[in-house]
Amino acid sequence: MEKVFTVKNPTGLHARPAAKLAQTANSYPCDIYLVKDGKQINAKSVMGLMALAAKQGEQLTVITSGEKEAEALEAVGAVIETIFE
């Protein structure tokens, strides 16, 4: 399954937001990937997320596949659209 989400957090998906996202992704059994500008990373990886350095307003495609893929898609999407501070 895939769906596009927009980063809302003013400082982007850095640091704690990235950690939170990876944590959320890791709580699901399915594979979860994020795609930005053709670059794909594993959403369960904090380092990948931090390296992706997604900024406010950028669009990320979330791809999930496997057990609980629909739930995972929404959960990860919700974190992407969270304003952390």
Partner: protein, 575 residues
């Protein structure tokens, strides 16, 4: 060879040098024959598993020795070693480029390090340091490179480092490290302050000592004079051994003063209390004869971690300190003083041009009221378990004091509503560390129970001198007449309103300043635990009536030099 630095914490140590440096491991890039690639990938993942096991053991022993908080760093390292992108990228590189694991690891780690280092974000740069750390750990495993470990020495070592962070300092194992020395830093840098509170001899500001000493060189470290001798003559070693013995004899003498009250020769009572950073310091301070705590720096609860401490964590720490002091001796808790030179990566504070004049301490707390109220709740809850007092740092105006007290009133009301116990008459004071607050002390005093003069900042703000800047550190003068006039004004303002005044800066433990401050009327002296017995020894010999006359005369003198010379001649030389 002799090195002169700044004595950060007194005492002597003799022993081999141990250098805490970022090591460089040479990596040879090799091509792996196609048939052996999977074996190479397996070699990499086996060593990664070994490194994880090693880190788990380290985490466990750190947890037992130093607590949950210090152990967290190893959890973060374990997570990195399990990170699918990181590990995946390395394994992919071994396969697609047919290179050895060391080279693949080095290249992938270095690209992440370069990326994170380039980000304008303190938190990300710290992650770069974490990756460096695990890269080195894994490289050592893969190459079988031996590294010096503190365990290789049978005797305690003298640790040398370019700089030590407060958490490095807190993690020092006293049974293995007898003293430390650093290239940078000053008397009031955080590692120096912690060295004094841990009673570990230290010399800082030695410029290039780490580049000029080899591991295992024999050193003498003299923390009282700020000297380090490298490979000293046997005569010098003997002389220092004798000095160390004399010192421990004096310690025994001072030890007898441990449970005695701090009363001057003419019967005036003062309070000699300790500056502490955590509950363990409180235990140590009690052993050193402290009659309470005059400054509990709560920021250490917030440092070296990735998120704010919970109310309960804070409550447990504050309660433990109050209980260490038997529930009756005073414990003054300072609310969070962060910002300035003390950063918290997880608060994502912007870099400032002038951090000491910026968004810090009470200013930050009055802006982030949720964080502040959590701390106030924890302090109030702990106030039910002992003689806890609380003070706000960096107050510059009456308005800020009122805002803080307003939040305190709200928190009290919440607790009362929830039926949670606290001391409704807990004393609330402020730090006087900004000249504006000192000048309006007579106005502020009406809305506080006490003042505590924070001389480190008061001096630097009054004289406009950065205490960390070695080029102008000679201008940092505790005995500057302007500083003394401010202190005098603060004490008089408090006393005429019937309130007490303490001091919790370095000056309160300075043996030349104590007689003068006593004469000026200071009620409470808060200092490093290790200075307390010496201060008590001094106070017992002083006559407060005479010190009042001394203070009156000092206030007529026009320079720091003249004042110090006068005190030396008329007080110190007569003891």
């Amino acid at each position: 060879m002799q090195w002169k630095g700044i004595g950060a914490a007194p005492g002597y140590a003799i022993g081999p040098a141990f250098l805490l440096l970022e090591e460089k491991i040479e990596v040879q890039k090799r091509t792996i024959p196609q048939a052996e690639i999977e074996r190479e990938v397996k070699r990499f993942s086996d060593h990664t598993s070994l490194a994880i096991e090693e880190l788990e053991a380290l985490r466990e022993s750190t947890r037992q020795k130093m607590g949950e908080k210090q152990a967290e760093i190893f959890s973060a390292h374990i997570l990195l070693l399990q990170d699918p992108e990181f590990i995946g990228a390395i394994e992919a590189k071994i396969r697609t480029e047919a290179v050895n694991a060391e080279a693949a690891l080095q290249e992938v780690a270095d690209s992440f390090i370069a990326l994170f280092d380039s980000m304008d974000d303190e938190y990300m740069r710290e992650r770069a340091a974490d990756i460096r750390d695990i890269r080195n750990r894994l490289l050592r495993k893969l190459t079988g490179a031996k590294t010096a470990s503190l365990d290789d020495f049978n005797e305690p070592v003298i640790l040398l480092a370019h700089d030590l962070t407060p958490s490095d300092t807190a993690q020092l194992d006293r049974s293995k490290v007898s003293a430390f020395a650093t290239d940078i830093g000053g008397r009031t840098s955080h590692s120096a302050i912690m060295a004094r509170s841990m009673d570990i001899p230290a010399v800082v500001g030695l410029k290039e000592i780490t580049a000029n000493v080899k591991p295992g060189d024999i050193l003498i470290l003299d923390g009282s004079e700020g000297l380090v001798y490298v490979n000293p003559s046997p005569d010098l070693v003997a002389a220092y051994k004798a000095k160390a013995e004399r010192e421990s004899a004096q310690k025994v003498l001072l030890q007898q003063l441990k449970d005695e009250p701090s009363v001057t020769a003419d019967g005036a009572r003062v309070e000699l209390v300790a500056n502490i950073g955590n509950p363990q310091d409180a235990v140590l301070a009690k052993e050193y004869g402290a009659e309470g705590v005059g400054l509990y720096r709560t920021e250490f609860l917030y440092m070296g971690r990735s998120a704010l401490p919970t109310e309960d964590e804070q409550f447990q720490a504050y309660k433990a300190v109050a209980e260490t002091f038997g529930g009756t001796q005073p414990v003054v808790i300072r609310t969070l003083d962060i910002g300035g030179d003390k950063e918290l990566p997880y608060l994502n504070l912007p870099k400032e041009m002038n951090p000491f004049l910026g968004y810090r301490a009470i200013r930050l707390c009055l802006d982030r009221t949720e964080m502040f109220k959590t701390q106030l709740r924890a302090i109030l809850r702990a106030s039910a378990f002992g003689n806890i007092k609380m003070m706000y740092p960096m107050i510059s105006s009456l308005h800020e004091l009122r805002q803080a007290n307003q939040l305190l009133a709200e928190v009290k009301e919440e607790l009362a509503r929830e039926g949670i116990a606290y001391n409704p008459t807990m004393e609330v004071g402020i730090m006087i560390e900004i000249p504006s607050a000192a000048m309006i002390a007579d106005q502020l005093v009406k809305e506080v129970d006490f003042f505590s003069i924070g001389t480190n900042d008061l001096i630097q703000y009054t004289i406009a001198v950065d205490r960390m800047n070695e080029k102008i550190s000679h201008l940092y003068q505790p005995f500057h007449p302007a500083v003394l006039r401010l202190i005098q004004h603060v004490i008089q303002a408090a006393h005429s309103a019937g309130k007490w005044v303490g001091m919790c800066g370095e000056m309160a433990g300075n043996l030349t300043a104590i007689p003068l401050l006593l004469g000026m009327g200071l009620d409470e002296f808060s200092m490093s635990a290790s200075s307390i017995l010496r201060a008590r020894h001094l106070v017992k010999q002083l006559d407060k009536g005479r010190m009042k006359e001394i203070a009156r005369h000092v206030m007529t003198l026009d320079s720091s030099e003249a004042i110090v010379a006068y005190l030396q001649e008329h007080v110190m030389d007569k003891l």
